[in-house]
């Protein structure tokens, strides 16, 4: 499957289009940082260094992205190499954080039953959630992050997004559905 819009964005950034770089950064920089953070479980300074290295390497290699996978998946691949380099320098081995992901099917993470706490705190779960968030449109992700990660009220989210209260509630409901679908799509891609 080709990710046409990702490919167009990557090509524009690769040709030096500054507006496209801003879009690329707004869309992927924060999720990539979260991806690195959850892999490391170490200091923020180290996470920031690896994140910066990964973004620079991605920028330099963007012209080689052919749209064969999602752009965020491609970025995660670069970040994983940087994380592996970091572990190698420390004489450690990177562990497969997804080895335990099969214990909890992704699509049931957002189901109609309360989630056990150990599933929520599991590193593999957190990484999959970051990947699912990166698949959402900008307004869905901003709404979900503001409402649930930053714990803002619906009123505050509405003001932030320049929408009415009712429209924001509706947006949040659609964003939750999209989030659940994104998790399910990741599940399909998991070998």
């Amino acid at each position: 499957m080709e990710w046409a819009s990702d490919l167009v964005l990557a090509r524009k950034v690769a040709t030096g289009d500054e507006a496209s770089l801003a879009t690329f950064y707004a869309r992927y920089a924060d999720p990539l940082f979260a991806f690195v953070c959850h892999h490391l479980d170490e200091s923020r300074a180290e996470a920031e260094d690896i994140w910066q290295e990964a973004l620079l390497a991605a920028l330099q290699g963007l012209s080689t992205y052919q749209g064969q996978c999602r752009l965020f998946t491609w970025l995660c691949g670069i970040a994983q190499h940087k994380i592996a380099d970091h572990f190698r320098r420390q004489g450690r081995r990177a562990t497969d954080v997804f080895s335990d992901v099969g214990e909890a099917r992704l699509s049931v993470l957002v189901s109609d039953a309360p989630l056990p706490e150990e599933v929520v705190v599991r590193r593999a779960t957190r990484i999959r959630v970051v990947q699912a968030l990166a698949l959402l449109t900008d307004d869905y992700r901003r709404a979900l992050v503001a409402r649930y990660a930053d714990e803002r009220s619906v009123d505050e989210v509405a003001r932030m997004l320049g929408r009415t209260y009712k429209a924001t509630e509706s947006l949040l409901a659609r964003a939750r559905d999209a989030f659940r679908e994104a998790l399910a799509s990741l599940e399909e891609e998991t070998p």
Partner: protein, 115 residues
């Protein structure tokens, strides 16, 4: 919202909070710094000379016109190229090659526009 909806919202909230809380996001300062760094790289990078779409189409049209002229010379009875069979074969090869150039131009423009 019904009980099931509440549960879905609560699960979503817990997952998003655990995965994407403030501690899992770069500080505004770091974010700004890294963005400036990337922007600097983009600006410093020697700009790839871009061949404008209009010029590409014009070139394709010009080549097509040349191909038509050559083809006409080959086909018309009084044409000079038609006098020699080897010249005729060479001209036909040239026409066949040239005929693909506008097609390639259109494909390049379409791929640029639609990935």
């Amino acid at each position: 919202m019904n009980e099931e909806g509440n549960c879905v919202e609560e699960n979503t909230a817990r997952l998003v909070r655990a995965a994407y809380g403030p501690s899992a996001r770069p500080s505004p300062q770091a974010s700004e710094r890294v963005f400036r760094l990337l922007l600097g790289h983009v600006k410093e990078r020697p700009a790839t000379p871009s061949f404008p779409d209009a010029a590409l189409v014009a070139l394709g049209a010009l080549v097509a016109a040349v191909a038509v002229c050559v083809a006409a010379q080959v086909v018309l009875p009084r044409a000079s190229l038609g006098a020699s069979p080897s010249l005729l074969a060479a001209a036909m090869m040239l026409v066949l090659n040239l005929a693909w150039v506008p097609v390639a131009g259109i494909v390049i423009v379409m791929r640029r526009r639609h990935g």
